[in-house]
């Protein structure tokens, strides 16, 4: 006899309950309870011990009632059932991501270092116009190369460049659409909130089911989902914060909505959009380390090796390498942001 027997008999469900009686597999907890003592499974003596009417408790009283493990199992089976159809659609759509990532990794690793490093420094100078930063980047990369971490660092950078670029490519239009329609904003914000709060490990699990772990788009998608949020949010915010007077002037002089977007809203929102890009780059760096769990190459793999094999030194040095990359990426994007801000003073 269990606690909620009387509930089912009052509701007249006794027959239904006994129908569902089966000798299904026993859970570990049941087995333990059974072997320990028989007295525990009897009815509780007082109200203090009344268990919450949870799925498992109700199952004790009525065998036809599902147990909680059947919920998770059902979810899993449901997902597996739609998985094939889902990947039929998602696979071709996301295939270019694999090409981009593989191409970038191949390009970064097969171009000689004496071309890659100067090109990167030239880009840094172009966007920041600061020799100090060029020097910082040069010495950081040379340091990483000197301790033979060049290849790992370049893999990490290649993944970040591809993912951050795609985040901007997708995120800015989404942000613009959000700024134009309150309904779309209301629909999008919960999704963004979820992406931002869901622990990355959680959405790695379904991704592993959907895509093969050997494909690079798996970690690409994981990184993009995680890092796209700030650029979407800040594009939306930036466009909504554009000075109403300037918008009114644009209307008064007869701008078309398109002219308004490209001549007024985007340029004036650019400082905010760039702040979003900075955040997106930093978040893809954070995610690329976690994504090493699903075969993303780069410094993350070394960190993972450090944890798995307890190679303290490797883990620490790889971690330091990630910090160095973070610092130079942050400084460079902030410096270019500051240059944009300087021309946007009101």
């Amino acid at each position: 006899m269990a606690t909620y027997d009387s509930l089912f008999s009052t509701l007249g469900l006794k027959d239904w309950c006994s129908e569902g009686k089966s000798d299904g597999p026993m859970s570990m907890a049941d087995l333990l309870a059974k072997t320990q003592s028989k007295s525990n499974s009897t009815e509780p003596e007082s109200l203090w011990d009344l268990p919450f009417p949870s799925m498992d408790t109700l199952n004790e009283s009525c065998a036809a009632f599902p147990q909680s493990r059947e919920l998770t199992k059902g979810l899993e089976q449901g997902f597996l059932a739609i998985k094939d159809n889902l990947s039929l659609v998602l696979d071709p759509v996301t295939q270019p991501l694999s090409w981009f990532l593989d191409g970038a990794l191949y390009g970064m690793l097969n171009t000689p270092w004496w071309i890659v490093i100067p090109v990167m420094l030239a880009v840094v100078f172009l966007v920041t116009k600061s020799w100090k930063l060029v020097l910082l980047v040069a010495s950081s990369i040379c340091l990483l190369a000197f301790i033979d971490y060049y290849e790992y660092a370049m893999q990490t950078l290649a993944i970040i460049f591809v993912c951050a670029f795609l985040c901007v490519l997708l995120g800015v239009p989404i942000g613009i659409a959000m700024s134009r329609s309150n309904t779309f904003q209301r629909m999008t914000i919960p999704v963004l909130d979820m992406l931002q709060t869901l622990p990355p490990f959680v959405y790695l699990i379904p991704l592993i089911f959907l895509f093969s772990v050997t494909e690079s788009k798996l970690y690409g998608i994981a990184i993009i989902l995680y890092a796209i949020v700030p650029v979407v949010r800040l594009t939306n915010l930036g466009i909504r914060l554009v000075d109403k007077d300037v918008i009114e002037a644009a209307d008064a002089f007869g701008m078309t909505p398109r002219q308004k977007l490209f001549k007024v809203q985007i340029p004036l929102a650019l400082p905010n959009i760039m702040a979003g890009v900075n955040q997106t780059i930093m978040m893809s760096l954070a995610m690329v380390v976690i994504a090493s769990l699903v075969s993303a190459p780069g410094l993350g793999v070394l960190v993972l090796r450090g944890i798995r094999n307890l190679e303290l030194g490797v883990g620490l040095v790889a971690g330091l390498g990630i910090v160095i990359l973070a610092v130079i990426l942050d400084r460079v994007t902030k410096a270019s942001l500051a240059r944009i801000n300087a021309t946007h003073k009101q």
């Binding site: 007077d245 300037v246 008064a252 002089f253 007869g254 701008m255 340029p267």
Partner: protein, 352 residues
């Protein structure tokens, strides 16, 4: 003045709120602004506005904040849609225009100058000045000479390649005016264009506007809350209160014959000697016999006459227009005109 009517506004109503059409019925039946807000939860923006704006004149719309003057000016280019009424520009119904025609109207017929300048912060002064032409599809090379010309005309020679934030407020508004002039539209809407500037600069800008107007004779609609500014600039003055026209007409006429306590309050603080002109208070006659102390122009203000008389109240001046006598002005009449109207005095006594 027989200028043609450029813009005519007839029975214009604007009500802000979720169901303005329902509220409009209450307003037409005479519900006032406070009751409408309390009982219907709608804000009365404008009530039964009838104004004719004449070609080549400066029409000043004056009122305190909340009187609906900014709302009214935004109806002219339909930045705000009216609830009911009619707006005609050169005879065409502005309210019947579709989106494309409206855009055409905004590009070619009307330009606007804003209180907070509303320049594009990421564009140079030159590009800002040419904004209207840029919108119509011209490139910098096309509009550069035109923009440079008007920038020079408003006193910004050599600032073409600076950014707006490098300029002072007064200079930024000069860019705003140049932008409106470069668009070469016959109508200029100026929404409290000088209110954000300090008094000296403001006075400079008013002089600049009058100078430009003498040269270009555009149709200007000017919004202000400053009576001195209104009297200095206006050919036709419209006074708004709580979304209604209280009085409109020749500013001198309004000053001498205010028909509402609200206006009397307004005009009691101004320097009448500087604003009133000889033509408004002179006696009209042409008999040239008399002992005149000298000739004065009908356009002189009373301050000028006062300083010429040296304080002698027995003098009588001959008033001339283009060298011909049109009337006379005695210093006694002048002194009397300086006293704020009796109505105003009575009102002040009552409140004491």
């Amino acid at each position: 003045m027989a200028n043609d009517i450029k813009i005519s506004i007839k029975h214009l109503y604007k009500i802000f709120g979720p169901t303005p059409d329902v509220a409009l019925e209450y307003v037409k039946r005479g519900m006032n602004k406070a009751d409408l807000l309390e009982q219907q939860n709608h804000v009365l923006g404008l009530r039964d506005i009838n104004v004719d704006i004449r070609d080549g004149e400066i029409t000043v719309i004056m009122g305190l904040s909340g009187s609906g003057k900014s709302t009214l000016i935004r109806h002219l280019n339909r930045l705000i849609e009216p609830t009911a009424g009619e707006i005609r520009l050169d005879g065409t119904d502005v309210l019947s225009l579709n989106e494309e025609q409206l855009r055409q109207l905004r590009r070619e017929q009307m330009s606007m100058v804003f209180q907070k300048f509303a320049l594009l912060p990421h564009k140079t002064v030159l590009e800002n000045a040419g904004m209207a032409l840029n919108i119509r599809g011209y490139t910098i090379a096309d509009f550069e000479s035109e923009a440079v010309k008007w920038l020079a005309r408003v006193g910004l020679e050599g600032n073409e390649n600076q950014y707006p934030h490098q300029l002072s407020g007064g200079m930024q508004q000069r860019v705003g005016i140049a932008r409106a002039l470069v668009s070469n539209s016959p109508i200029m809407l100026m929404d409290e264009a000088f209110s954000a500037l300090d008094p000296l600069i403001r006075s400079d800008m008013q002089d600049l506007l009058l100078e430009l107007q003498a040269e270009l004779q555009k149709t200007i609609v000017f919004i202000t809350h400053d009576l001195d500014e209104a009297l200095k600039l206006s050919d036709h003055l419209v006074i708004l209160k709580d979304g209604e026209v209280v009085q409109q007409g020749d500013p001198q006429e309004i000053l001498l014959n205010p028909n509402d306590p609200y206006i009397i309050d307004f005009i009691s603080d101004i320097n009448r000697a500087r604003v009133l002109r000889v033509r408004s208070i002179m006696k009209k006659h042409v008999d040239n016999d008399g002992d005149y102390a000298g000739d004065i122009s009908e356009k002189d203000n009373l301050e000028t006459v006062l300083s010429r008389s040296g304080g002698d109240t027995d003098m009588v001046f001959r008033v001339v227009r283009n060298g011909e006598m049109v009337g006379s002005l005695s210093m006694k009449d002048l002194t009397r005109a300086l006293v704020p109207t009796d109505a105003s005095t009575a009102r002040t006594n009552r409140t004491d």
